[in-house]
Amino acid sequence: MSDPHPLMTLQRWMQSVITNPRGISAGIDNAAARQWIDVASDDVEQVIGRSQKRTSIERLQVYGNAYFARLVECMREQFPALCETLGQELFDGFALDYLDKRPSTSYTLSRLADRFVPHLETTRPAAESAAPGWADFLIDLASFEWSVAQTFDAPGTEQSGVITPDDLAQVSPDDWPQTRLIAAPCLRLHAYRFPVNAYFSDFRAGRPLSIPPAAATWLALSRREYIVRRIPLDESEFLLLQSLLAGQSVGAAIEAAAEQSADFDAFARNLPHWFQRFAGEGFFTKLVKP
C-alpha cells in the first residue's frame, strides 16, 4: 500500500537519521528510522541521491555533523563558565547528552537550554555525603548562567523607571508597615550552595579557577541600562526581599525575615540601610500605599 503522507514519513526518517549521536549509518539502520523508511544504510540511495563526487551517506553526514556541532556551540556560548570549568571536551559530552535526551522543541535558540539544569539534576551522580559536592557546584553554576540569560531578555525598568531612595524617604512612618513594594520585572533572587557569583567574577577576570568549598550564598540578578547586574545579598536581605517579592507588605516582610534572623539586633540596625540599598539598586518600580 502506498504511503499516504510520504513527505511526513521522509521528514521523520531524516530527522531520526541526522540526529542520531552514533552517526548517519547507525541512524539509518536504527529501528527509530526504519519504522518510517525501512531502508538499510547500504541502500540509502533509494532515498537520498548521490552526487558525482559524494555518496548519499557522505552528503547526509553534513547535516548530522551540523546538528550537534551548531547546537553544542550555542550551549558553550550560553554556559561559558561551566564550559571553562569542565573543559570543552567534557562540557561537550554533557551538552550532547542533553541534546540527545531533551532535543529542542522551541523556535528560538534562547530556549535551547531551558531544561539543561533539570537535566543535570536528573542525571547527576549520587551524592557521596550530605554536604554539597562538585556535582552540586556544577548545577549551581549552570543555574546561575541560565538565570543571567533570562534576566538579560526579561522585561526591565529602563523605560518605566524605578522607586528611588528619596521616594522611600517620603513614605510616612504610619503608612510604611502597610506599604507594598512592586518588584522590577527583571529582578530574580537566588540562593546557592556555593559562591558561584564570586567564581564567575574570577572567570570573567581570567583568574585561575578551582571549585570553591561549599558556602551558602545569596544573589539578586537585575538589570540596569540593559546590562545584567549581580548584587550579592546576605541571608537576611534575601529573606526580606523574598517576602516582598511574594507580595507581602513591608511590615509583614520585615516580621517574616526577622523571625528567621539569628541576630535580631543587627537585623533591626541594618533594616534602613537595606531598604535604601534595594531602592538604590532599582529593585522596585512602584510603591502601593495603604
Binding site: L7, R12, I18, R59, V62, A66, T151, F152
Partner: protein, 305 residues
C-alpha cells in the same frame, strides 16, 4: 501582470544586523542603506537587543529574516510564533518578512537547521497551501529564500528552480534569491547555477543575499564566514541584469569582521553591477576532516556588568 519585486522598493545595499556591531552602529550611525535582522533574535527579548533595534528602526529601513518558520514541515504551523512575527513587523515597520524554503524539524522538534524538501507535486501542494495560510495571517506576502543544501531526494521530480517558480506563482509570494546558496547547491548537486538563476521568475525576486562559503574540495559548505568569491559575484551580476536590480544584503555570521569591513564587502556590489568588476578574494578551500558547520546559528550572548 506581477509588478517587479512584488511592488517592493529596491532598498539598495544592506548588511545583516549582528549584535557584535551594536556598539559601532549606535556610536557612528553608518551610511548603510538598510539592515536585515534575524527575526528570532528579537521577537522575545525585552532587553538590549530590542532597545537597539528600536533605535535602528528609527533611522534605517528594516527587513525581517527568519529561520524558524519551517514552511516545509509537516508539523502544524506555529501561530504563536507567527503572531510574534506579525507584531514585531508592525512595531519596527519591517518592509517585508522572509524565511527559507525548508523545514527545521518535525514531531515537535526543532533541529535549528534549514533542511531541504523533495521537489515534487506533493511538496509543492503542501508548501503552497502553508504559504497562503501564513500570508493570510501576516496580512502581507511572504518572501522565501532558496536554501543551500547538501542532499537531494530520490523522490524529487523537478529541479529546485522549477519548484521555486511554481511555488512563487501559485502562492503569489516573493523570492529572496541567495546567489551564494545557488552556487553552493550547484557545486553540491552538479547543476549549472546560471541555469538556476535564469530559471526563476525574476519579477518575484524581492531581495538578493550574498555571502561567503567554504569549498571542501568535493563539495561546498555555506559558512557565511568570508568575503564573496568571484563566481558568486558573476551570478549576482547575472541576477541583477535579469531582474533589473533588487535589494541586496550581505550575510556574515562567523568570524564576523569589524562593521566597516562587512559594509565595504557589500558595497563591492556596485562595481559588479556596473560591470566594472571588483576585487574578490581567492575561494576558501579546506580539506580538513573537521568540516565547518553550515549556516552558523545566531545566539545573542547576554551582557553582564
Amino acid at each position: 501582470m506581477t509588478a517587479a519585486r512584488l511592488g517592493h522598493q529596491n532598498l539598495g545595499l544592506g548588511v545583516g544586523l549582528r549584535s557584535v556591531h551594536f556598539g559601532h552602529i549606535l556610536q557612528h550611525w553608518p551610511a548603510v542603506d538598510w539592515f536585515e535582522i534575524i527575526s528570532e533574535n528579537y521577537i522575545d527579548t525585552q532587553g538590549r537587543p530590542r532597545y537597539v533595534l528600536d533605535q535602528i528602526a528609527e533611522r534605517y529601513p528594516l527587513v525581517m529574516h527568519g529561520v524558524s518558520l519551517s514552511i516545509g514541515s509537516t508539523d502544524p504551523l506555529d501561530f504563536e510564533y507567527l503572531a510574534k512575527l506579525k507584531r514585531l513587523a508592525g512595531e519596527i515597520d519591517a518592509r517585508w518578512i522572509s524565511d527559507h524554503l525548508c523545514w527545521t524539524g518535525v514531531a515537535g522538534r526543532n533541529s535549528h537547521d534549514l533542511l531541504p524538501i523533495p521537489y515534487n507535486e506533493e511538496s509543492l501542494a503542501h508548501v503552497v497551501a502553508r504559504i497562503k495560510t501564513v500570508q493570510e495571517f501576516l496580512e502581507r506576502p511572504l518572501v522565501l529564500e532558496d536554501p543551500s543544501s547538501y542532499v537531494t531526494f530520490a523522490a524529487s521530480t523537478m529541479t529546485e528552480w522549477e519548484f521555486l517558480s511554481a511555488m512563487a506563482n501559485e502562492a503569489d509570494c516573493g523570492l529572496l534569491l541567495d546567489v551564494n546558496n545557488v552556487y553552493v547547491s550547484g557545486v553540491n548537486h552538479d547543476f549549472d547555477p546560471a541555469e538556476y538563476v535564469r530559471g526563476v521568475p525574476h519579477e518575484r525576486i524581492v531581495q538578493f543575499h550574498l555571502a561567503g562559503h567554504t569549498n571542501m574540495g568535493d563539495y561546498c559548505i555555506d559558512t557565511h564566514d568570508a568575503a564573496v568569491i568571484d563566481p558568486v559575484w558573476r551570478l549576482y551580476q547575472l541576477a541583477h541584469e535579469l531582474t533589473g536590480g533588487a535589494s541586496t544584503l550581505l550575510e556574515w555570521d562567523a568570524n564576523i569582521p569589524p562593521f566597516d569591513v562587512m559594509h565595504a564587502e557589500v558595497l563591492k556590489a556596485r562595481g559588479h553591477i556596473t560591470a566594472q568588476g571588483g576585487e574578490s578574494p581567492e575561494p576558501i578551500t579546506t580539506k580538513s576532516a573537521d568540516a565547518p558547520a553550515p549556516h552558523p546559528l545566531h545566539f545573542v550572548t547576554p551582557e553582564i556588568e
